[in-house]
């Protein structure tokens, strides 16, 4: 499971990164293992993804999202 698998409104806990190349900027914005992530919006054409990570609101591309492994917390339909 990665962030790219999340549905809108779903929350998850970040588990680990499947690459060494996660930009440091993303970590600094709170994208660290153990933190909560919520998918808020998906842009038209399914990319990028608008997330709330640990209280920070940010958008990342699907290709980056695919490298962030997660455990889904709960299902909430919107």
């Amino acid at each position: 499971m990665t962030i790219a698998n999340l549905k809108r409104g779903q929350k998850a806990i970040i588990k680990e990164f499947s690459t060494d190349n996660i930009p440091i900027k993303l970590l600094e914005m709170g994208c660290l293992p153990g933190n909560e992530v919520e998918l808020l919006q998906i842009a038209p054409f399914r990319d990028p993804l608008y997330l709330n990570i640990n209280g920070s609101f940010l958008a990342i591309r699907r290709e980056t999202a695919l490298q962030i492994e997660i455990d889904i917390l709960e299902s909430k339909s919107v």
């Binding site: 440091i24 900027k25 970590l27 914005m29 209280g55 990342i60």
Partner: protein, 699 residues
């Protein structure tokens, strides 16, 4: 002069750092550049209690001391260089109460540099709505610093900041986090090798090698004492450091900061839903763009007409009042029209920056980036290219500078290369005068034909930008790690004062930056048109009067003939004649040729040049448009500005790279002459070709 306290304002983007700066300094600020790079340097003076003054620098926004860009480098370079005259006595870290956790990361890094660091928690007015409560005393104790809770929107707390700055000596310089615990062995090695250096500073110098410009790296040159780690390992350590810092911050905030997760999430969510909607999102964006263009080209026409008329009468007035002579001519025909050519752009530039600044301050711009990223990526661009492409309609210079926050080098380079195709305001005067000459002022399908032509030219410029981006994306073989992170700030009402200051600053930098070039060229042109190398220039009157066909000419026509003979034998005339063979196939005569050549310095010079060329020697106050309309083609004898040559000129200006300042900026931003030269050659060759084909087909 008493000693000033050097203060550095530091903070993440979107924390209201500039608002704090504006309120501390009022209008008592100046904007310049850091030497050698085009990063804006904002400084100001703030009066503190008891007659002390603080010299305040507003450093570029950064998320951490791990620099990713030129702007961010400025921050770390200053903080690591004790000998810099701006090295801060005290750092003020501005944070947003809603993002305190993330913002504190930077705070802990600065504090670890052992610089006295004050914490400003801004946007306090939003606390109630977001259900946030702060235990300031506890936070002060845990972070070992002094805190000011500020609301720039409500003008609260800034006095407290001043007071803390004045008493900066009472602030502890103990670090927050001991970085060495992430890998004691490595750091012990470092300590042993450089016993006199501060370990955290050393660590920053080692890890920040990516884009260092001028920091003295001799510090770690001699690495024989220990083996330097590989980049991947360093990166792993940086990850660990980030985790460590967050652990510390979580511990601090656990008791001192409470947020009610259920409070007021609705506003952002519902606004986001509309603004990033797959249909409405684009419709709203399109409407906003339409409003911007409407403002730039319609609303600003009133002040522009006024400026135009004012400068024309000023020129007239000088001619009438001052004694006739070279000086009067220089002022009336060179300097005043030259100045007018600069001032006339002020309304458009101001409108554009007004909109851009409102869109950025409100948080909407990030939504546009989010909305457009997928589409732009098809053309090798990024969602973040939208801002430069929109800014490009005012001026390519700030637009090229606005590409800095595009993380991916290839996307950034492509954006820089194609931005000059967008129709900048300097092309507008050229378009306007030629359209009014060659396109009939009639209606077509209920719309004004001239207006349609203008719009087509804009679409053409934008289309060409996108097309060449697509092409470059195919051609350029640049491997660059792609990553893309955009912060989505909360929606805010823009503060009028911030918007105003941005508009004034940007307009000023245009007037004094581009203005200098335009004015200089106007004067040079005037000189070249008013002087000639040979007797034929000096004795024009005698030569023309002596010609047999001159005898029966009425007085006015004779004067025109003399003036035109003079012009042909001036320096500029001789140069123009020399290039005429190259431009005749495009339908231009040598006068247009001169205007085209001189506008390689800056496009807007075109009209000014024709104005200068035509007005030199002419006493009559005639509009430039009438003069142009009465010109005839040297070969065909028909009006020089007809549909064929007009379209040819319009297309030439749509595509040609005619702006020295843009080339200079591109050189600075790409750090090589390769790209600006490629731009110049490709765009100009393409422009020539298109203009040639157009003229030959239509004529």
């Amino acid at each position: 002069m008493s000693k000033q306290i050097n203060v550095a304002l530091i903070g993440n983007p979107n924390t209201g750092k500039t608002s704090v700066f504006n309120q501390l300094t009022g209008l008592n600020q100046k904007v310049g550049n850091y030497p050698g790079i085009t990063v804006e340097k904002k400084e100001g003076v703030c009066k503190l209690p008891r007659g002390v003054k603080a010299h305040i620098i507003d450093l570029p926004g950064t998320y951490s001391l791990n620099a990713n860009s030129l702007d961010e480098n400025v921050v770390i370079e200053l903080l690591l260089n004790k000998n810099d005259k701006d090295f801060p006595d005290v750092a003020v870290v501005i944070t947003d109460v809603e993002n305190l956790k993330r913002n504190l990361l930077l705070f802990t890094q600065i504090k670890d540099l052992k610089i006295p660091t004050i914490l400003v928690i801004n946007m306090a007015d939003r606390m109630k709505r977001r259900g946030i409560s702060l235990d300031v005393e506890l936070l002060e104790q845990k972070l070992n610093t002094k805190i000011a809770v500020v609301s720039t929107r409500k003008r609260q707390g800034v006095e407290k900041v001043k007071e803390l700055i004045a008493n900066y000596k009472n602030i502890s310089t103990d670090p927050c986090v001991d970085t060495t615990v992430i890998e004691p062995e490595y750091f012990n090695g470092l300590k042993a090798a450089f016993p006199n250096q501060d370990i955290y500073k050393l660590w920053l110098v080692i890890t920040q090698d990516a884009n260092f410009v001028k920091l003295d790296r001799n510090l770690v040159k001699d690495t024989s004492a220990f083996s330097t780690k590989s980049k991947t390992e360093l990166k792993r350590l940086q990850h660990k450091e980030t985790v460590l810092r967050y652990q510390f911050i979580n511990g601090v905030l656990k008791e001192g900061y409470k947020i009610d997760a259920n409070a007021a999430k609705g506003f952002r969510a519902s606004l986001d839903r509309i603004l990033t909607h797959k249909v409405w999102g684009y419709v709203i964006f399109f409407l906003i763009l339409l409003t911007i263009f409407q403002a730039i080209y319609d609303w600003s026409s009133y002040p522009m007409d006024f400026i135009d008329a004012t400068f024309a009468s000023l020129s007239e007035w000088v001619k009438e009042t001052m004694p006739a002579g070279s000086l009067t001519n220089l002022i009336a025909e060179g300097i005043i029209p030259g100045l007018g050519g600069i001032v006339i752009f002020i309304p458009q530039i101001a409108f554009l920056f007004l909109f851009i600044s409102v869109l950025e301050e409100s948080g909407y711009m990030s939504r546009v980036v989010f909305l457009m990223d997928r589409i732009m990526r098809k053309f090798g661009l990024s969602g973040k290219s939208v801002v430069p492409l929109i800014s490009g309609t005012a001026c390519a210079i700030p637009a090229v500078m606005a590409t800095r926050n595009i993380e991916n080098w290839k996307e950034r380079l492509i954006t820089i290369l194609v931005t000059p195709f967008t129709t900048c305001s300097a092309r507008l005067p050229v378009y306007l005068i030629i359209i009014s000459l060659v396109i009939p002022n009639t209606r077509f399908l209920g719309m004004n034909l001239q207006g349609i032509t203008l719009m087509m030219l804009y679409l053409l410029g934008f289309g060409m930008a996108v097309f060449s981006a697509w092409l470059l994306n195919k051609i350029l073989k640049i491997k660059s790690r792609t990553f893309f992170v955009v912060e989505m700030p909360s929606y805010k009402m823009p503060l009028p004062k911030n918007v105003l200051i941005t508009v004034v600053e940007k307009t000023k930098s245009f007037v004094f930056g581009a203005g200098k070039i335009i004015l200089a060229i106007s004067i040079v042109l005037w000189f070249l048109a008013s002087n000639g190398p040979s007797d034929r220039f000096d004795n024009a009157r005698e030569i023309v009067t002596a010609q047999p066909e001159a005898e029966n000419l009425p007085e006015g026509d004779l004067e025109t003939k003399i003036a035109s003979y003079k012009l042909q034998n001036s320096y500029i005339g001789i140069a123009g004649k020399a290039i005429e063979p190259a431009i005749l196939p495009l339908g231009y005569d040598w006068k247009i040729g001169i205007a085209v050549i001189s506008s390689f310095a800056a496009r807007e010079v075109f009209v000014g040049t024709l104005a200068t060329i035509y007005s030199v020697g002419s006493d009559e106050e005639e509009t430039i448009k009438n003069r142009m309309a009465s010109e005839t083609n040297p070969i065909t004898g028909e009006p020089l500005f007809n549909l064929a040559s007009g379209i040819s000129l319009l297309l030439f200006y749509a595509f040609a790279m005619q702006c020295m300042s843009t080339l200079a900026i591109v050189k600075r931003e790409t750090n090589t002459w390769k790209w600006p030269v490629a731009q110049l050659v490709f765009m100009s060759a393409f422009a020539y070709l298109v203009a040639l084909v157009a003229y030959q087909l239509i004529k």
